[in-house]
């Protein structure tokens, strides 16, 4: 039988079996198409709700005024959603905040007002990432602070706006950013998206790979397959194509899903987030998809080798766990500060793909470097596939005791 025909027979059978497997379909289709947008919506909704709640909830506070500055307290009373509560002593502030009895306390210690500014100590839980206490208190007191400043400026004779500005800001540093809005957006979104693409390429290939190698051994079908009068290379290639295809489908679906989700979200998410999302176009996503292809082939070859070596499904799962870590860490490189795409990082598998996707999203990818990354990843995939074929011809691997 001709090689191509045998390869096709093996691949077709493996494909039919794969699409009848619910677990594979879950990882390959349901996870990228349903779970990712659902998760994205939940995260965005949760973040927006939390921010809204923080901005509108009534803040309970206590005041300890040693200098007799009732306007500070009055400013808080005028501001919406602030409620004063009585606290026995200032020593109880920390405990009261920890016990959620108050959200913050203001302490106005005695100072010499002729030589020192009025000091307002804001005591609050600064460990809380979502807390808006500081922002809201500053906002509430800003008006009174402005009044005091105006009075002081008047005392020194700065009556015109020009004079006041010169006195307050004798030197101004004006920022003129050179990055485009797309580059700024890419720096933020470009860290996370490659990680998602690469993870889904791996996840999509993982389960079929285990099933097609170790699963075949466990079921007792491998021996009969080896006795078919075809080259073992065709068996490996047939299996590889299906595993690679599963990874590609998974990565493709997650790229499409995220593209559609971004387009849909641009309408509903306004402000900076909407502007940020609008800079990522379908063509960027298509290019990102192309870069993911060779690394998917690398994953497929490694996973198939692991799976062929393992004696059982469970053993294959154990062996593939370190691979997941080895894929996750380099894929996270774009999220690390200071890690940029250069000829050095372009030589590191997975990391190079991850950084290339980030540069694509930023619109700053060097075409030569892109070609080099796709070519080197393809060569690695080819070498690994060759090793996998050699691996599949070894008796001690196939009939490991």
């Amino acid at each position: 039988m001709k090689g191509f025909s045998a390869l096709g027979i093996v691949a077709r059978k493996e494909f039919v079996e794969m699409i009848r497997d619910r677990k594979t379909l879950f990882f390959m289709i349901v996870l990228p198409v349903v779970i990712i947008p659902l998760l994205g919506n939940v995260v965005i909704d949760f973040t927006m709700d939390a921010a809204k709640e923080e901005a509108t909830k009534t803040l309970e506070y206590a005041v300890f005024d040693d200098v007799g500055e009732p306007e500070v307290e009055a400013a808080l009373e005028r501001a919406p959603a602030f409620e004063k509560v009585e606290l026995g002593s200032r020593d109880a502030i920390k405990e009261a905040i920890a016990a959620d009895e108050i959200d913050f306390a203001l302490v106005l210690p005695e100072v010499d007002r002729t030589s020192e500014p009025l000091t307002v100590e804001l005591h609050f839980d600064n460990a809380s990432q979502t807390s808006s206490v500081s922002k809201r208190v500053h906002g509430a007191l800003a008006g009174y602070g402005e009044q005091l400043r105006e009075a002081k400026l008047a005392e020194v004779g700065a009556t015109t706006a020009q004079a006041r500005k010169l006195l307050l800001e004798p030197m101004a540093v004006v920022e003129r950013g050179t990055a485009t809005a797309r580059e700024v957006a890419g720096e933020v979104a470009g860290g996370m998206l490659p990680y998602i693409f690469i993870m889904f390429a791996l996840l999509g290939a993982l389960y079929p790979a285990i099933d097609l190698g170790a699963g075949e051994k466990e079921r007792g079908t491998l021996e009969t397959l080896l006795l078919a009068p075809i080259r073992r290379r065709d068996i490996v290639l047939g299996k590889f194509l299906v595993i690679f295809g599963a990874g590609v489908v998974s990565a493709t679906l997650v790229v499409i899903t995220i593209t559609v989700w971004i387009m849909a979200k641009m309408e509903s998410v306004g402000g900076g987030a909407g502007e940020l999302l609008s800079t990522i176009g379908p063509l960027d996503m298509l290019l990102a998809w192309v870069v993911v292809l060779p690394i998917t082939a690398v994953f497929a070859a490694i996973l198939l080798s692991i799976s062929i070596y393992a004696k059982s499904f469970k053993e294959a799962q154990s062996y593939s766990a370190p691979l997941q870590i080895l894929a996750i860490l380099p894929a996270m490189a774009p999220m690390l500060p200071g890690v940029e795409l250069g000829w050095g990082t372009a030589m590191i598998p997975v990391t190079n793909v991850s950084l290339a996707i980030k540069e694509i999203i930023k619109g700053t990818i060097d075409p030569m470097m892109l070609v080099a990354i796709v070519a080197s990843s393809s060569v690695i995939a080819g070498v690994l596939l060759g090793l996998c074929t050699w691996w599949f011809s070894r008796e001690e691997v196939l009939f490991r005791q």
Binding site: M1, A6, I9, V10, K13, V16, E17, R20, D21, E218, R219, G220, T221, E223, T224, L225, L226, L227, A228, P229, I230, R231, E395, E396, L398, F399
Partner: protein
């Protein structure tokens, strides 16, 4: 016809491998990091003949059958199927053999028809002939009622019939059966034995290993007994009784084993 000539198989042992046999005695097959699973085994099986391969657990039967079926390569010696050498042209050998084992599994998410068709195509059965060939096999094995159900949903007996159909779909000249009734109930085992008997009439060469002496008495024209990787007896059932010193075949079997190297090994373990 199958000719086995001084066939030997040695496995390299991993560094961590312990010396001695699984039963605790000193295994004569082990030398440092080498395990001689088969030593110069020779015999012949004529077309239309059923040869029983006997031996205790760990004797080397499965290694011998795997080597003959080309799943693993021999270290020494060779075998020829109708003149085709397993070393020189393993793929051509595979076209001529059908292999069935008691531990053979099925693709659970395929139907019997899909699975048998898959193996038919892998063995080069022309696409135009394959459906008819499958229909004939399914009719002979009375499989039509579940031919399109998923293998996972079949009973043990049904599954074994699927395996038989898979083994015979390409009409092999030589059938190798490794403990084909292992783990089957009486009904399913009877089906397998009937199939083997049927093969005799079609002039197929059959080599099968078993632990059941009633199967040997019923089916085998001749018997080869191996122990610790070495052939200790070859002859027909009557000769086996005579050589083993007992009319009951199981006692004759034990009698023959008691004379070989394996006996010393087993005594050591006891």
């Amino acid at each position: 016809m199958l000719e086995v000539e001084k066939l030997g198989k040695t496995f390299k042992l991993p560094r961590r491998a312990k010396t001695g046999s699984k039963t605790g005695g000193v295994d004569p097959r082990q030398e440092e990091r080498s395990f001689h699973a088969l030593r110069e085994v020779s015999f012949k099986v004529e077309a239309g003949e059923i040869l029983g391969l006997l031996g205790p657990n760990g004797a080397g039967k499965t290694t011998l059958l795997r080597t003959l079926s080309t799943a693993i390569a021999p270290t020494r010696g060779t075998a020829r199927f109708d003149g085709v050498d397993i070393r020189e042209d393993p793929r051509r050998v595979r076209q001529r053999i059908g292999f069935l084992s008691g531990s053979t599994g099925l693709y659970g998410r395929l139907s019997p028809r899909e699975m048998v068709s898959y193996y038919g195509r892998l063995h080069g059965v022309p696409a135009a002939e394959l459906p008819a060939r499958i229909e004939v096999l399914f009719a002979e094995l009375e499989m039509q009622s579940y031919a399109d159900k998923r293998n996972d949903d079949l009973s043990t007996g049904m599954k074994q019939k699927v395996s038989i159909a898979r083994t015979l779909v390409h009409d092999p000249d030589i059938i190798i059966l490794d403990e084909p009734t292992s783990g089957l109930d009486v009904h399913a085992a009877a089906g397998i034995l009937a199939m083997i008997e049927g093969l005799r009439t079609t002039k197929k060469t059959v080599l099968f290993s078993t632990h059941h002496m009633h199967e040997v008495e019923r089916l085998c024209d001749r018997v080869v007994l191996i122990d610790v990787g070495t052939k200790v007896f070859e002859g027909d059932v009557a000769e086996m009784r005579e050589a083993g010193g007992d009319q009951a075949l199981d006692r004759a079997f034990l009698g023959l084993l008691g004379k070989g190297q394996g006996a010393t090994l087993r005594k050591g373990a006891a």
